[in-house]
Structures are given as C-alpha cells and as structure tokens.
C-alpha cells in the first residue's frame, strides 16, 4: 500500500475500527477524519456555548471559531466576499431555500432549464415552483449513455429562460458538466445559474469566480465534514435582494410591534441556534483536503478508477453505465444483467464491501437507463488498490453466482 494513503487511512477512525471494511460509498457520505471529530469534541468540551449572543469570553471564542469557518469557505471557493457564504443544513436545504426564495420571481411562461441527471433535491423544488407559477420546466437532451453536452444546453436556453438549475457532477453517472460554459450561455440571456456542487466539492477545486455561477450549494458531509451542515454561495447582489424564509433570533436587526428589519446577508438567512460544532469542525475538513491537495486527490481517484474499470472490462454479465465519465468522479455505476441490484448488493455486504444500491435519489436518470436501480461504487482518498481488488473479486463472484438467474 502506498505509504501516503496508509497515513490517510490511519486518520479515519471508522477504518481503524473496521479494518475489514471496504468503504465504497463516499458519494453517499464520506468518512470523517480525526481532526474533524476532535474539533467537534473540542467545541463541546472547551467552549460549548452559544454563538453571536454572549458578551463573555467563552461565547466570544465559540463565535470566533464559528465565523472562522466562513472565511475558510470563502477562500476554499474563491468567493469575492465573505457575505456570499451562507450556512445551511446541507445541499438539499440550500437548494430548497433558493427555490423557495426565488419562487415569486417566476412568471407564467418563464422557463427553467435543467437536466435529468439532477438529484431529487435540485430538481423537485423547481418542479413545484413551475407547477405553482405555470412556468415551464425544460430538460436538456441527454444521449443514450446518460451524458449531457454543452450543445444540449445551447438548444434550450433562450430569452424565456430565467433559471438554469444544474448539477456540477452527476451522482449516478459521474459526469462533470461544463458549468463555466453553461453559465456563459445563460448570462447572455440574463438567466441565473444555480449549481448543485454536492458531488463536485470532494473531488474538484471549485472556483465560483471563475465559474461565474450565481448560486452554488453543497454539503459538508460529502467532503469529510460533519452531517447536517452545508453552504449556500450566492453573489452578494442577489443575496441582498432575497428575502429570508425564516424569521426569529439571530437574523433580526430592529423589532417593533408591527414591523421589523433584518440583518444583512448572510445573517438574515441564519435564524436560530445553528449547528455550531458542525460549522466549527467543517473548517478542519477543508484544511485536511487542502493539505492533501486537490491535484493529488484527483490523481488518486482517477488511478484507482481506471485500474478498476480495466480489470472489469468485458466481464460477462456485467453492465457498467458510465465507463466514459467515471474517471474524475470515482463513481462506477453498474448492474449484473437481469438481476435486481438489491439481490447483488448482498454479495458485497457479505464481504464487508459498502456500496449503494437503488436509484440514488435520482430517479430520472435511473429511468433513462431503463432500469429499476443500479449499484454504485464510489472511490475516495482513503481507498486503496487492495480495496479495489476485493471489490473486483466480488463483482466477478456476483457475475458468476447470478449467471443462471
């Protein structure tokens, strides 16, 4: 085993405590390193008080730690201003917040462009918006193998387009979409672009100024951070215009009997006591990933994915749906011909290989592939060639076991 990867593995207690487990479900959620877990512990044991309220030292420390994450996220995304970083409960929460806040800007006849690659949390809020506002949800073309190209966006973005809602990296096909170019086209028609970056942030260096996207959401938990926390990035000029969805503590400025004024962005979107330890610990995940470096992360994931695809090539009974787009995202989506993915999943479970089986909260693309579900192995920084060999063996056993079904 590569020494560096061995060192990485030693940072993950779930791997230390389950030495036989092969974890290939990082696209669902990544494992968490010691530094993140220790930081959560540090908050609760050293200065576990509320933020943005107290005038005492402990509260000041907690608030400093809590706000430091915002600065680190700003740098991580290369956002222009710190006010553009809104704390959320995760990608789904951020995407839903946006859709709800922007609902009133939609008029009858407006169009919203999206793809069938989307995760349910990016597309369903806009399905609802379009139904309520009599706007039209327009899907780009997609080819037979489930890949969407820039041309298909060019065909459907026009003067009527108000919003383009698009995933950066598909959680089923692993395809990386050309966000920068899509944004460029959308902006020619004054349409705003909302990016679901949940699967992108663990793998790619995301630069919101370079992409020029108007909004971008992701979760902490897919990139080594805690669950229940995420980020909504938005250009300040748009966040300033959006009304808060929830009113209450923290987000308010002046309160009178019959009226109130709210704080500015990002605080007007953050009411109530937030997930403090999660926010504080998230910066440790970012530091950890930055420390390894995204170039190295991409290279490692790509090498392991290529190794695996090569070994599985032409295996009788195996269908891999995304050979072309698997490499960069480390997502391998497959089925054993004629067998329900849940039946196959037990072969992997028996060998302590963790992977996902089902529709991956993206039923549109699963239906497009013409199946009830798929199996998905997703590779990340702590995976090794040994992991992949165990996985490859299990795929071979499965192909053999189910050949007569």
């Amino acid at each position: 085993m590569n020494k560096e990867i061995l060192n990485i593995r030693n940072d993950f207690p779930v791997l230390r405590n389950n030495p036989n487990v092969v974890y290939l479900d990082s696209a669902a959620t990544s494992l968490k390193p010691d530094c993140v877990i220790n930081k959560i512990n540090e908050y609760y044991t050293q200065y576990g008080v509320n933020v943005n309220r107290g005038v005492y030292k402990l509260s000041y420390t907690a608030t400093e730690e809590y706000e430091e994450t915002r600065q680190i996220v700003k740098e991580f995304l290369n956002a222009k201003e710190i006010e553009e970083i809104v704390y959320t409960k995760g990608a789904s929460n951020g995407l839903n917040m946006l859709a709800l806040s922007l609902r009133e800007t939609l008029k009858e006849g407006d169009e919203v462009v999206s793809t069938i690659l989307e995760h349910h949390s990016s597309i369903l809020p806009w399905q609802e918006n379009c139904k309520i506002k009599n706007a039209k949800l327009v899907y780009t073309d997609i080819d037979k193998d489930g890949s969407v190209d820039l041309e298909s966006f060019k065909k459907v973005i026009n003067e009527k387009t108000r919003y383009v809602v698009v995933t950066y990296v598909s959680n089923v096909m692993g395809q990386i979409l050309p966000i920068k170019e899509i944004v460029h086209i959308a902006h020619q028609y004054n349409a705003l672009v909302i990016v679901d970056a949940a699967q992108a942030v663990p793998h790619l260096k995301v630069d919101v100024q370079d992409l020029d996207c108007d909004f971008l959401c992701f979760s902490a938990h897919k990139m080594l951070g805690p669950t229940g926390f995420g980020i909504l990035y938005g250009k300040k000029k748009y966040l300033n215009k959006l009304k808060p969805l929830e009113y209450g503590g923290d987000m308010i400025d002046e309160v009178e009997l019959y009226d109130n004024t709210t704080k500015d962005t990002p605080y007007k979107f953050e009411t109530g006591t937030p997930p403090i330890s999660e926010a504080i610990a998230f910066k440790e995940a970012i530091k950890y990933l930055n420390n390894i470096g995204f170039e190295k992360i991409e290279k490692h994931v790509e090498e392991l994915t290529k190794y695996t695809l090569d070994k599985l090539d032409n295996l009788e009974g195996l269908t891999i749906y995304n050979k072309k787009s698997a490499l960069k995202s480390g997502i391998i989506t497959f089925n054993i011909r004629g067998v329900h993915p849940h039946d196959v999943s037990t072969i992997f479970d028996e060998r302590d290989i963790c992977l996902r089986a089902g529709h991956h909260c993206a039923q549109l693309i699963t239906k497009h592939l013409g199946v009830v579900g798929t199996l998905r192995a997703s590779i990340y920084i702590y995976n090794t060639y040994e992991d992949m060999d165990k996985f490859i063996d299990a795929v071979k056993v499965a192909c053999d076991y189910f050949k007569d079904w």
Binding site: H340, P341, H342, D343, T346, E350, A357, V372, Y401, W405
Partner: protein, 150 residues
C-alpha cells in the same frame, strides 16, 4: 456468517423464476393494494378475494428484488384458502420468523419457512415482508389504493 446460498435457496429461486398466482385479475370482487417501498423502489400490487371470511384467491404483480418477488409468490400460496383469522396468525408468525424468532407452529408457514435466514441479512428483511404487509393491511384495515412501507 450466513452464506448467500442460505438466502437464495432453491425454493426462493424457484418462486422467483416461476412465480405462482402472478398477474392481476382487476376485478371488483378483489380488494387491491399497491405496497411500495419508496426508498428502494420495490412495488408489489396485491389482490385479495374474500368470501365468507375465507381468502378465496390472492394475486400479485410488480417489481422488486428476488426476495421481494419470490416472497409475494410464496405468500399467495400459503395464505390462499385460509380463514382471515388463520391468515392473520400466519402473517404474524412470518413477521416473527423474519425477526429471527422461530414460531411454535412452524409447519403452518409451509414454504415461507425458507426465509428463516433473512434475519442474518437485516437490510433485506423489508424486502421479504413487503407483499405480506400489503395483504395484512387489506385484511385488517380494509384499506385499498397505495401504501408505503419503509
């Protein structure tokens, strides 16, 4: 560790490949319920015809894994011809079997006994019970239409 062949045994594979009582009648004399598990996508519609307190016929159709589909077939054979009271007792015994508790009167389960090892594969338990829960709902609540069982 239980072996996968304990799970996918001959009886189960036979019911998967040659399901009994499969295909819906779509007749008003049947009570119909679509039993779904949205998180995994399994969906089995069951039809039950009851006359004089006796289950005269059970039909099923749908999509799901081998455990889910075979279990619907086995269930239709086991419960057909039983009184509602007997059927309820057998359904109860089946739920207990799936949890790993061998019922006192195991013969009554007939072929359903082949799911005895499911408790060694906990994530699959809900696959085995889906069609049974659909019939359970029809017998005990008179509900028809659709029902989600996670």
């Amino acid at each position: 560790m239980s072996n996968i062949n304990d799970l996918y045994n001959q009886v189960l594979k036979d019911h998967r490949s040659f399901p009994r009582n499969k295909g819906l009648i779509l007749d008003d004399s049947y009570k119909t319920l679509k039993a779904k598990n949205p998180s995994c996508g399994d969906s089995i519609t069951v039809e039950v015809k009851i006359e004089d307190g006796i289950i005269k016929d059970i039909r099923h159709d749908g999509v799901g894994c081998a455990i889910c589909c075979s279990s619907a077939s086995v269930m239709s054979e086991v419960l057909k011809g039983k009184t509602i009271k007997e059927a309820n007792e057998i359904i109860h015994d089946f739920y207990e079997l799936i949890k790993g508790n061998m019922p006192e009167n195991e013969d009554r389960l007939e072929d359903a006994i082949v799911y005895v090892n499911i408790h060694n594969f906990p994530p699959r338990a809900k696959c085995a019970t889906l069609a049974w829960r659909g019939v359970d709902t029809i017998l005990n609540t008179n509900k028809e239409g659709e029902e989600n069982y996670e």
